[in-house]
């Protein structure tokens, strides 16, 4: 009990410090950025708007206050649970995120699960049949895709499956022209397929390559040779003795890739006009919408940080030799 209590307490403390740090740094970066929110807001209207009106816009958003005052104001609101007002969307930050997070969560959650399961399976298969045609195909696939940008994959998928074959919809989370309430679950899943594939493809290759390398080590280890000597096939050894050991790097990569997954989802959402957090993140950045940007940055921090903590806990589950009490061991990969 004491070990776990300490573990949780330390993690919470670290998380709090991390969030505070991220808030300060993200705020400072956003303020140092060359983006002028008023200019970004006006866009092509700029020549019709004079200096007086610009001052009025800045005042509406509180940008006429000194930067430190803006930060303290934001912080005091945050403490009382108010994430502020998004100038870009002319709505409370919580409402902006709330209306988009469900679509993003479904997309990212499924993509994450799929890339984990498929990537791990491919890695195990490739290592088991090391050097064979199966291994070669998986390796080529993994190398090519690991170096391919998500948006490009997304456009290719779109051209192939939506335009040429007509199997999948070209965009959106629901059929074109249909009210959000009218779309059936099946239609929603149909619209999820392409963004999901585009996003999963990225994660699969990394996990497959890491798992493959680990599994090859395992298959060449003494206990594997011993098992082979007793008549077990390579596949037997891989599945019965190797899989659990090889899971450690897969878990690490899977949880460490949460940040990348978030980045990838932004691009996939843009291509498929999938109404998730992606476009909101881009808009918040390019238009200098600090409250929204900060909320998303802190949300992502929380998300990645909790993910890493879960990975640390899973190490112990996957490999009982790892000692939770020692911090160094928490981060160690493999036996």
């Amino acid at each position: 009990m004491t070990i776990w209590t300490r573990f949780v307490a330390i993690r919470f403390l670290r998380l709090a410090l991390l969030l505070a740090g991220v808030a300060v740094v993200a705020f400072a970066l956003a303020k140092l950025s060359p983006v002028d929110p008023v200019t970004a807001y006006l866009g092509p209207n700029i020549a019709k708007v004079g200096p007086e009106q610009r001052a009025l816009i800045a005042a509406r958003w509180g940008l006429d206050q000194p930067v430190t005052v803006q930060f303290l104001h934001w912080l005091s609101n945050l403490v009382s649970g108010d994430f502020g007002w998004s100038a870009t969307y002319n709505a409370p930050v919580t409402a902006v995120i709330g209306s988009r997070v469900a679509a993003s969560a479904a997309l990212m959650g499924l993509a994450w699960l799929l890339s984990g399961v498929i990537g791990f399976s491919l890695g195990v298969i490739a290592a088991t049949f090391q050097g064979g045609w199966c291994d070669r195909i998986i390796r080529v696939y993994a190398y090519v895709l690991a170096s391919t940008p998500t948006f490009w994959i997304a456009i290719l998928l779109l051209m192939g499956f939506s335009v040429a074959l007509g199997w999948t919809p070209v965009c959106c989370a629901a059929p074109i022209g249909l009210l959000p309430g009218e779309a059936t679950l099946l239609q929603r899943l149909h619209h999820l397929i392409l963004p999901l594939v585009a996003l999963s493809i990225l994660g699969i290759s990394q996990i497959a390559l890491h798992t493959r390398a680990k599994m090859i080590d395992i298959l060449e280890s003494d206990f594997a040779t011993y098992a082979r000597a007793q008549g077990a096939s390579r596949l037997d050894v891989a599945l019965r003795h190797g899989a659990r050991n090889a899971a450690l790097p897969a878990i690490t990569v899977l949880f460490a890739s949460l940040g990348e997954l978030f980045g990838g989802s932004i691009l996939a959402e843009q291509v498929f006009a999938y109404p998730g957090l992606g476009s909101a993140t881009i808009e918040a950045g390019v238009r200098g919408d600090v409250p929204l940007l900060l909320a998303i940055a802190m949300g992502t921090t929380l998300f990645v940080s909790v993910g890493n903590t879960i990975a640390d806990i899973l190490y112990v589950v996957a490999d009982p030799r790892i000692d939770l009490a020692s911090d160094a061991a928490l981060r160690e990969i493999g036996p």
Partner: protein, 526 residues
Amino acid sequence: MSIRTCLTALLAASALVAFHPTTSLAAPKTELVLAIGGEPDDGYDPVLGWGRYGHPLFQSTLLTREADLSTTPDLATAWSLSDDRLTWTVKVREGVKFSDGTPLSAKDVAFTFTETAKSGGAVDLSVMESATATDDETVVIKLKRPWITFVENFYSLGIVPAAEYDAGYARKPVGSGPYRMVSWTEGEQLIVEANPFYYGKTSPFTRITFLFTGEDTSLAAANAGKVDVVSVPATLADSLPNGFKAVIADTVDNRGIVFPMLRNEGKTDAGGYPIGNDVTSDIAIRKAINLGLDRKALVDAVLLGHGTPAYGPADGLPWSNPEGRLDEDVDAAKALLDQAGWAPGGDGVRVKDGLRAAFDVIYPSSDSVRQGLAVMLSEQMKALGIEITPKGDTWEGIGRLKHANPVLFGWGSHSPQEVYSLYQSDWAGIESYNAGYFSNAAVDAHFAEAQAAESLQASYPFWKQAEWDGKTGFSAKGDAGWAWMVNLDHVYFVSECIDVGETQIEPHGHGWPITSTLQNWKWTCN
């Protein structure tokens, strides 16, 4: 081997499917799907700036512009400006209802103008003193000073209902326009249907879906036959999908370079960055560049033919003056430079009093069209002996450099207010408006006359004189404050079954402006 056969089969199959006709020719359609971008992040609130381009859909305006930009009354039945040019009296149409069935009166008009003035949105009404409804049909708007370009708001400011307007208005707009909102999934699609209370001409299209897909995805959707109208960048204008025709709108979506007009005398702007450029402050250089530019070649090479040569900030609009342009003539440009004392130097670059005719032209590095224009400009100017180095930078970098270096900007608006902002001497160095510190007392005087005119129509001759009055002006023949280069065409792929009629000369910003004539669109297939 098996993989290759599989791939070949897949490719062949996809090619077969791709060549199927995608648009079905059934009964007249009453529903349209448009992928022309234009989603307002902050919603459909005219008070904050919605509807400044194209059609406001949900609201209607006091006046509207036809395809030829002539004025027709909409909510206003009569409008007049007092002799001191400070008071507008507008009569509001009777019997108009909002989409929720409540009546629209002059009070709503006054409320909209008053609310807009204080809301801190993208609409600048700072010249307005007050807006009051004197009775149910009359609105009186008082101005702080004569300002004819205020009338632009009669065309673009959609009227909101005073009783319904609150913080949530932008996401559930109620107005007197031809459509009302059915649903808006942000980042994905907007669905609208005909407003049963609409007083004007009804469109045959009773339900319209606007898809907010990116350019590539929109084009893919057209190829898959899922949309009826899609806006495409000029670079993709030749990839017409089956069942579509290209509609090309002329524009004042222009690109050109602004010249620093002052000499570099060590002065700095408010941010501490230098002002002035010794080469471009010489009028001979500015005129020679205007003379020596082959604008047609720019259009062909950079815009792949999808544009027109630009000679001023508002080509083709009633307040522009074609008299002010200089016809392209490389020999005349060289003669002008010789005469001004710019002698050819050893390396092909002209020199005057030890100063080389060399400078940088700054463009935003994120914009490939502007980069292409800057590079072509540099090539063309070699023939004149002027050395131009194109340099890409961020908008922030441009902010630091714009008062001492020519910058490749883009403008274009349906209001002469923009011309005023670009060349009025009071606006020198303020934001990005008059970045070159252009200053000409005669031009300022013509602008003042224009702003004090009795109507927008009556102001046109003064705007024209500001461009060129026979002696001076801001045009190339006058002080040549800019070298305007090209106007970008706006290309739309439209289903062969839809007749969109004549399009307006469109402003800066591609996509939504095509909706300005939405009411006139027709379905032509049976």
